[in-house]
């Protein structure tokens, strides 16, 4: 049978606030265990939560970023369950009245096609701490540094149909939240974690099949692999006439498989009820409008503008608008050199090539956007050839200075002086009389080939610095 994959994603996004959502503790990653846990985070008796307004602001920014309904009155609830890394015995979350309601999210697939994915809701909540089960002589260690870290849980509709779409969704989400500056989106550090709800149904069937949930997948690659495995597992069961059990599964990256965590039948009754220690979050249109004014241009709008303003292909525009830092870099290069096309090539091929090779982010680039723009400007004004430019770029990467400094220091200036070039041409003609004779006897097609030989000789003699266009003209004249 032909099966259709149905996927809904829950993204847990760590917000880039200065402090925790309900306490003043810092949330720096990697601090020594329990050094970022205050009396509130430890749930000491009598301690009370105080909402961090920055988290609300960031949630509203996200809502506006996906054109969602903003909850003008949203309510925190207690989600009750016992676990040692949950100090209060409940997580403060939002249940019935989230801060972000329904919205739409546009994703672009590799082939350039566009899909709209529905967003069900996004709500604010606090993260739990971490349980550490190793190196404690049979006991467990608890690190509460992460407890109380602000999270935005973004729930999608079951609109995703393949692992490719899931990855595209996550990449676009990553792009959006980093554009908004509301999260660093660092999956390796857990700033963006993902639960995958996945089911299969026969192609053409309207009802959804029974789903399994895969918890806490923390890289694009693992998402792709986890989905692939789960689809195969479910398809095998269904093909054999079996039934899918609704359950929570864990993706084990080391063994590259999913396995059950706990069955929903025995799952906790979370006993949600409104958190009496916090007032509802009540915001007004003016508050939302003021935040709206601070929103940067978002990835989709930027991509479309790049296509229009710079005449870029959809693919180039997507790559260059993929992150705010890269897009800003690109536009600075364009401003410095005034040629969007060549700038796009240089940024994508040379710059990203080098960055990828060195596993560096755009922010780490040793070549600034203005420096790269300056280099391209020298190509455009014929100071250097494209080939020499790559040499200059290498030197810039090594920190040897600006394009002009390097060109001057290494004497790479293109020779465009007619007198100097004529002397070179004459010299090469004189040294290659046999080829001159051949040229003069040949037909047009053959002449073209031989002309290349002379150009090559001159470039060699000039160490690549001769202006190739002028050489061509001079040769054609002198050999005629």
């Amino acid at each position: 049978m032909q099966w259709e994959t149905v996927i809904g994603l829950e993204v847990h996004l760590q917000l880039a606030t200065k402090s925790k959502i309900f306490s003043g503790s810092s949330i720096t990653f990697g601090a020594e265990a329990n050094t970022q846990a205050s009396a509130v985070d430890l749930a000491m008796p009598g301690m009370l939560p105080v909402l961090n307004e920055q988290a609300v602001r960031m949630a509203v920014m996200f809502g506006l970023g996906i054109g969602a309904n903003i909850g003008m009155r949203s309510v925190f609830d207690r989600k009750n369950y016992f676990y040692p890394d949950l100090p209060k015995g409940y997580q403060i979350s939002q249940f019935a009245d989230p801060i972000v309601g329904e919205g739409q999210f546009e994703i672009q697939l590799e082939d350039g096609s566009i899909r709209q994915i529905g967003i069900t809701r996004a709500h604010l909540e606090e993260d739990a701490g971490k349980s550490l089960h190793e190196d404690f002589h049979g006991m467990s260690g608890i690190d509460l540094n992460r407890a109380g870290t602000p999270l935005l849980e973004i729930v999608s509709e079951p609109d995703i149909r393949s692992s490719e779409e899931a990855v595209a969704y996550l990449k676009a989400m990553h792009s959006l939240v980093t554009y908004l500056g509301i999260s660093d989106g660092n999956m390796a550090e857990g700033s963006m974690r993902c639960d995958i709800n996945i089911s299969l149904r026969p192609v053409g069937q309207v009802e959804y099949g029974t789903r399994a949930e895969i918890k806490n997948v923390n890289s694009f690659r693992f998402v792709e692999r986890a989905i692939r495995h789960e689809v195969e597992r479910q398809a095998d069961i269904l093909e054999d006439g079996g039934k899918i059990v609704q359950e929570t599964r864990l993706y084990d990256a080391d063994r590259d498989e999913t396995r059950p965590m706990r069955s929903k039948e025995v799952a906790n009754d979370y006993r949600y009820f409104p958190e009496p220690d916090l007032l509802p979050i009540v915001i007004d249109e003016a508050y939302v409008a003021a935040i709206g004014k601070t929103l940067p241009e978002l990835p989709t709008a930027k991509r479309n503008r790049f296509i229009k303003q710079y005449s870029l292909s959809a693919y180039d525009a997507s790559v260059l608008a993929g992150s705010r830092a890269l897009a800003d870099y690109y536009e600075t290069v364009v401003a410095a050199c005034e040629d969007a096309k060549i700038a796009a090539n240089w940024v994508q091929v040379e710059l990203l090539g080098q960055l990828n090779k060195n596993e560096q982010a755009i922010g780490d680039s040793p070549v600034t956007a203005n420096q790269l723009g300056g280099l391209i400007a020298r190509i455009l004004d014929n100071s250097i050839s494209g080939k020499i430019a790559k040499q200059v770029f290498e030197a810039m990467w090594q920190g040897e200075g600006t394009a002009d400094e390097i060109i001057a220091a290494k004497g790479l200036q293109q020779v465009s002086d007619t007198g100097a070039l004529e002397a070179m041409v004459d010299e090469v003609i004189a040294a290659n009389t046999a080829q001159v004779e051949q040229y003069q006897a040949a037909d047009d097609a053959k002449r073209k080939k031989l002309l290349g030989f002379f150009v090559g000789q001159i470039m060699k003699a000039s160490k690549g610095q001769a202006n190739p266009q002028m050489i061509n003209q001079l040769l054609a004249k002198k050999l005629a």
């Binding site: 009396a39 000491m44 008796p45 009598g46 105080v50 040692p84 209060k88 009496p276 220690d277 916090l278």
Partner: protein, 486 residues
């Protein structure tokens, strides 16, 4: 000295009739001699109290004192005190020494008051008789065979027995007013949010409110001046400006309209108690107030609504007591489940367990709508009753309790009978209103309380009415004879 009110003691300190060290030492002496009869204190702050008194004397001498500088105050052992055991009356916190002060404690410290000690209470403030304490029951100073009321029973008994001139308490369903009535003292439960809850160990977050217990309304006003105010660390704390509650105490009562809810004078009210309350109301009428018959038609919903909402909140507020980070922890847990179950089984008493179970049940999937949601709807109706009544009257008055203090053990096996003790006080908490209990006479030598209820942030008016009543009566000046107290 111990027979004086806070206002009188403050004057005495200013007049240099005695020092704070002498005053504090006198109270410590009384506690050490007499508290064995009442069990009002869990912790007595002997050494540090005298140090604080020395500092207070310096401050008094420097002329930078507040009205409470140098005044010893006892605190219910539900307020966290830095470096001092804060047990909440529970074995669960029998070893808990907080590294921080509750906001209420900080405010008293800043005012220069002396922490005399920490008073006994029903475990986690759950109870109406102070029999639910891990530290044993408190006894009523008027008759040690009687309960002092609860849950702030230790605070009420300490003030009644003159082991402290004033004390703090908390009131979730009557826990200041009911023991104040049983012990013949004055107690005020402020408007919800008027006093910070930070560092006050939570029973039911949407109902809990700290307040003063003292001998007079004037003393309550002095204490409230220090306790009240916005706390940015308590999101439910009120931002309304705090008035000086001592300023309007003497306003005359001419034209004051007092509503008498017929539901508070009906079946269930002990007739002798009812007579005392009516006589007290006559006194207010004599001062120019008019008595208006009113109805709070949804009063019968009060007990059911309260005993859903309070346990529901308590069931999750008490989840943090899990043996992982502080407090009691069972010996040699075999695994996580064993750690949780044995720690909580050993650490909590029966009434606390009962309310956790009730609350957990009420919030469970499939029961939430029938219980918790319904109870919240009832709560709105109860509140609306009061709002409607305050359209017609300035304050509401009635008995604080259905009858005077009962015997130790008399109701401890019957939770429902115990819950009915709070029938007149619970609605005030559900509506978030301020309420007071004022001594209004005796039934068989047992004190009776008059309850005064005001609109939100109407504390000044309640204190005014109570003060005028106390200017014309002497019930509040009577002191118990039992236990060698004069």
């Amino acid at each position: 000295m111990h027979e004086q009110t806070v206002a009188q003691l403050a004057q005495g300190l200013r007049d240099k009739s005695f020092t704070s060290v002498e005053l504090t030492r006198a109270y410590l002496q009384r506690i050490s001699e007499l508290d064995q009869n009442y069990n009002a204190f869990i912790t007595v702050n002997e050494e540090n109290a005298l140090n604080a008194a020395r500092t207070a004397d310096q401050r008094l001498a420097s002329g930078e004192a507040t009205p409470l500088t140098g005044i010893p105050v006892a605190h219910k052992d539900i307020f966290c005190t830095r470096g001092m055991l804060t047990s909440c009356g529970s074995k669960m916190l029998g070893n808990f020494v907080p590294p921080y002060d509750a906001t209420v404690i900080s405010r008293f410290n800043e005012a220069g008051a002396i922490i005399l000690g920490k008073t006994n209470l029903d475990e986690f403030a759950m109870g109406s008789s102070n029999e639910n304490s891990h530290y044993g029951p408190v006894k009523n100073p008027w008759d040690t065979s009687l309960v002092p009321g609860g849950s702030s029973g230790g605070s009420a008994a300490a003030v009644a027995a003159m082991l402290a001139p004033a004390a703090t308490g908390t009131d979730t369903g009557g826990s200041i007013r009911q023991p104040a009535a049983f012990c013949g003292i004055t107690g005020l439960k402020p408007t919800y949010g008027r006093v910070s809850r930070l560092g006050m160990i939570a029973y039911a977050s949407s109902l809990d409110q700290g307040g003063p217990l003292a001998r007079t309304a004037q003393d309550c006003a002095l204490l409230l001046n220090t306790m009240a105010g916005h706390d940015p660390l308590d999101s439910t704390s009120a931002v309304n400006a705090v008035e000086d509650y001592t300023l309007s105490l003497n306003k005359n009562l001419q034209g004051l309209k007092i509503g008498l809810p017929r539901e508070y004078f009906g079946e269930g009210l002990d007739s002798a108690t009812g007579e005392q309350v009516r006589a007290a109301l006559k006194e207010l009428e004599a001062q120019g107030a008019s008595l208006v018959d009113i109805s709070l038609p949804n009063s019968d919903l009060t007990i059911p609504a309260y005993y859903i909402i309070a346990p529901a909140e308590a069931s999750t507020n008490l989840s943090r007591f899990d043996g992982v980070r502080y407090g009691h922890r069972c010996a040699d847990p075999e695994n996580l489940h064993d750690l949780y179950t044995r720690t909580r089984e050993e650490g909590f008493g029966d009434e606390v367990k009962r309310r956790i179970l009730v609350g957990t049940y009420a919030l469970s999937a499939g029961y939430y709508d029938a219980y918790y949601k319904k109870a919240q709807q009832a709560r709105r109706l109860i509140k609306n009753d009061f709002m409607d009544a305050f359209e017609r009257v300035d304050i509401i008055a009635g008995p604080t309790t259905p009858g005077p203090a009962f015997g130790l053990g008399a109701k401890s096996d019957d939770p429902i009978a115990m819950y009915l003790e709070d029938v007149y006080t619970l609605a005030v908490n559900l509506a978030g209103l301020p309420g007071m209990s004022v001594p209004a006479g005796f039934v068989d030598s047992k004190p009776v309380g008059l309850q005064l209820i005001g609109p939100h942030f109407g504390e000044a008016q309640l204190l005014n009415v109570a003060h005028r009543f106390q200017q014309a009566t002497d019930w509040h000046t009577r002191s118990p004879q039992a236990g060698g107290v004069v």
